[in-house]
Subunit: 382 residues, 4 copies
């Protein structure tokens, strides 16, 4: 095994959720070593958080700008940085690192506006770094299986895509109780113009694209805020049209009691249909038209190469959310090592990149615009 | 037990599907006796079909007009008629019987246009007969349970209604192979302006209304025909707005491989959510917000009175499609007997009436109009 | 359609459960007409029950002996009788009718002892009547499908059979509250030597035999009574050995909270496995070894001829308990008509007969014997 | 965070399955650092495997004896060792380390005979080390939830325990194809006297004990070998009696097509029932008698403290097999640190210990004995 990649982290200190996820994901396959961090915008919290993780105090920073500058000057500086802050910090933090040649693993949505995302993309291209956006659901083996089936024509031409992402956690106004996760996610200053559509709608959007290979050309959206006083949408309905003639519906909700994290996708083509649900990710239902539906399972002989490549343990030993997340980290590591060695990029690199990040912002922008215009069909600027 | 109601039938001869369903439904609880029929528009077929059912040859008719006229003159004439023809015959047949004071049980959709439906409603009101429209899914015990829960405020104010009705059977152009069911359902002359939206979309629409008690005020629809050469829509997406502020999505498809008859509804309110799927009708998932979801089952002590009233066999002994259908027939029988005896109508009569039939036509019309106008939000004329 | 078969019923009056089931089952496919009954051993109850069903008062009897005698003398006497009493009445009632050449449809278990069952079989053979025992779960289409698959060698040689039938309704001693169903089922005088093993264990046993075609040669059983004061077993574990070398386990329980009527069977052969659950009877899981498991559904093109033959409505329109029960009645009608016309028996007559009834009694006897002998392996006297 | 525990590993080199699992499990929560290994009994393979893991070549050993000896002399020697070899090596390897005061994490079954296991227990007690046996399924959050419910009396007195562990992978004689996992698991010299019963039966046995807190006093077993030529059992049926009067059935099979890794348990008490299935581990079905069954989910407010304590990510973000395995490693780390610091053991340490390992061997021995004696009820020597 080649040596571990030195990783830094921005955000993800005390009280955060996704920071710990990124750290476990980075650790699982042993490709990274966390060596530096600006884990909070509050200096004491940054220090406490860094110490709790066993970081060298000299590499615990109180802001990402300082971290980028100082790390860039070190001999064994970080090679990659994970940005796991609220949305409004993604772009400034990413810019600070990529301009110093440090690879970026950034949480989603990429930015708070499409414009900002586009300028980041330009900067990233110029810098030539690896830039991953953690649309983590694309790391699941059976999502990979589904994608390969569609690409291989096993469903025939795609006709209908139904994707949904219901949750229940914002059914009541918990953002007013000091719940940190709810607070920033319902705050336009930190989240951008989209609430549910940015936080979970973009996941659903990306998953549909990742599996189907199709990008909608236009959409009609209805964004609603059900909880009185909430400042961003908490329920989203979108109809989508694809160039190919396919049609799709996307529903995302944070006010749907009974749903924990109900990302689910169904794709129908001329020759068959697929269904996958994130909460039971090791199975994929495949229904060839005219035959009995089949339960394709991760790790079995029914799983294709694309699934097998990202499978760790045998069938029936369920892999979950962290494993899928870790798969992205591992694929990013392969890309970074290819750069490091000057080798060509590995042939199979499937992690979402800044292109997915930009597409997500185009989706949010089109949906917000459509909704403000009474559902007018609106083009996606991808 | 009071004596059986004498029933006639229009349509439902050889090669039909729904006619046999109506007959089994009428028979199950022993409230009806089939005594007359105009079972096909082809005279020999009408005769053969009638004989196969053991009807008195004198009461086998070759057209509904003759049947209505002759039966009206008999001493022991039919008291009710089941109309189970393709859509375009519903209204003329219904008119022929109701003007002779014969109660009508009519299949859905009620008519081929809203206008036609409205004039039928006027005639039915004038005639004063019992007029049922067989939106049969409203006969399921756990649908009744759900309805009573919503009416009782157990979900709080309703926010989101997601209803869908995917099927796979028209994935390929079987209407060109002589398949009778597919032929008339894809023929505007016999089906009206709606394909999937009329055949199954109206079921989904009615179910959402039946359970929620809410009627959308406007909708935005996208009707698509995927199978080349097909003359009516085979995939339908609809977004709905309710007066109360609730939002809904309806998806119906006949080209969704993997779905046999996938009618499914999910309703979310301030206090909880419900989920019910027609293919496993004896269970209802109820998710009170903040508590573990519960599997409410027909026949158990968890089922409420509304469900228990229409339950025949103990829990765990599944009741299905025919039983739910039979429940409507039984409730219609109660209504007819009340009329017969001059008694007031029974307090609990939940079968769908001509009002549901008219609403269904308003839904079709609004959806077709919206779709032709690029998804413009369009009012429902209910 | 040939004319309906004239049916009588013994038992099944007020307060009974299974009588109404038999009547609906007899009615569904329109092959029978209920014309006579001895519906209760209490004369007034027999009369009230018969009147409620609209029977001719002259054919409402207060005991089965009188009924058999008088009916036998009528011109249009009953042709078949359904015996739906508690177990101890099955044999005397059946004898009264079969010796008069009246066909018998008898509930299970057939008798209260193997000896009694064997003498009944002798009498039935002598009488030459059609004798059905309503092991009704064998009427489900996907049970027929499974049976045909095994018979056709699709699983290879059978190795393991796991069948279970858990219920929860006797978790508490409701027999002491006057609950009629619980009372006689826990009373050795009316039920025989077996409690759970007779009431539900025999269903599981018969289903395993019906599908697999195999009969265990010996068994080891552990019968337990968990509810203090109960006089019969309420939980049953059985290990079974088959001549072929196959092995099986049977579990039946009336004290398993969470189970309504959880009959479920799994069969494993050299080449594949099957799984079927009574509460969701329209699906059968088929797992060919080395391939993805398939969901075979009633009414689809994946269902084989044996299933299709007993299917009434299209796929996705669930058929349930009553439909499966009705299928037995319909097959019995075919057999009776064949007798009536002197024609040879129809080739496909799959309803359970007195042979199944006797086997059930042999099973009960062996299990009770084994359990009393500390689980000693005990031969089945079939 | 206190510094990582230095870990060594015996077994788990190239071609192994469980070694990689242990390494990921040790890494996930960042409590261990793998620094030494005797990863294979073939020296070149041991070297290659160690290098692939980035171990210091000086700490790559070709046998566990050398490793134990040399490590014990180092300054920064390993503090704990993971033993992940075939069964017959467990005891000698464990002895080598524990007598040098090195904590042991040993795979199951503990030994190849009960006698051997008992002598190991004595040695471990004498050494005073932490000794964990990786019955990993006890690490799942909802298993912890179930255990706490039973302990808290929420089910009332336990009556019935049904546990099963079917797999399909040995349906055909793949041990003859050179498949390494199959080879040693069907070889008495390396596995001991039990095949399926040792490999998976003990997992089922331990899980039932872990959740219920009950230990069977005697059992009756039927061990069968279905695949011709196989030297150990591949299908196991066991009936169990508990002191309390409870009854249980255990079924384990390696020849059950359709099952990947189907460990599943159902427990029924006077007041309710529980059901948990390893392949969908984030849910637990809880059925309070007389109420609707509830789906208790990891991470939700319905999950109790025992589950929450071992939960990493929010509800709906599935945790799987590796996470449950990692939980044992983390709890072992807590125990080791308590020893290190001289502090009392943490109050809540739930990982399985050598007591579970010994019980597992007693179970195997009793089952093999019973089966050889035609299913005679046989006492467990625990």
């Amino acid at each position: 095994m080649s040596r571990r990649i030195r990783l830094g982290m921005v955000g993800g200190g005390e009280g955060a959720f996704i920071g710990a996820v990124h750290r476990m994901a980075a650790r699982l396959d042993d490709h990274y070593e966390l060596v530096a961090g600006a884990l909070s915008s509050t200096p004491e919290k940054a220090m406490r958080s860094g110490e709790a993780l066993g970081l060298d105090p000299a590499r615990i920073y109180s802001d990402f700008e300082t971290m980028a500058k100082k790390e860039a000057r070190r001999r064994e500086s970080i090679e990659a940085v994970a940005i796991v802050t609220p949305n409004h910090m993604h772009v400034p933090a990413a810019l600070a690192f990529l301009k110093r040649g440090i690879h970026v693993i950034c949480d989603k949505p990429l930015a708070t506006s499409l414009k900002e995302a586009l300028s980041l993309r330009q900067a990233a291209e110029k810098a030539g770094v690896v830039f991953a956006v953690t649309y983590n659901y694309s790391g699941y083996p059976m999502v990979r299986h589904a994608r390969a089936m569609v690409a291989g024509g096993e469903l025939g031409e795609i006709r209908v895509i139904q994707v949904e992402y219901p949750q229940e956690w914002l059914t009541e106004p918990i953002e007013r109780t000091g719940q940190k996760q709810a607070e920033w996610r319902t705050d336009p200053a930190r989240s951008g113009a989209g609430g549910a559509i940015g936080d979970i709608g973009t996941h659903a959007f990306q998953l549909a694209h990742f599996i189907s290979g199709l990008m909608p050309s236009e959409l009609s959206a209805e964004l609603t805020t059900f909880v009185p006083g909430r400042r961003l949408d908490d329920n989203v309905q979108v109809m989508m049209r694809y160039e190919s003639g396919a049609r799709g519906t996307l529903w995302a909700s944070q006010v749907a009691p009974g749903h924990e994290n109900g990302l689910r996708i169904r794709i129908y083509g001329e020759k068959g249909g697929l269904e996958w649900a994130q909460e039971h990710p090791n199975q994929l239902k495949y229904s060839p038209f005219g035959e009995a539906p089949r339960i394709m399972a991760r790790g079995t002989s029914a799983a294709n190469d694309a699934a097998a490549r990202v499978t760790r343990v045998p069938s029936g030993h369920p892999e979950g959310y962290l494993e899928a997340f870790a798969t992205l980290y591992t694929e990013v590591a392969e890309a970074i090592r290819a750069r490091r060695s000057g080798a060509p990029m590995p042939k199979v690199v499937e992690f979402p990149t800044i292109a997915d990040g930009v597409a997500g912002m185009a989706f949010i922008e089109a949906a917000v615009t459509s909704s403000r215009n009474n559902g007018r069909w609106t083009k996606l600027k991808v």
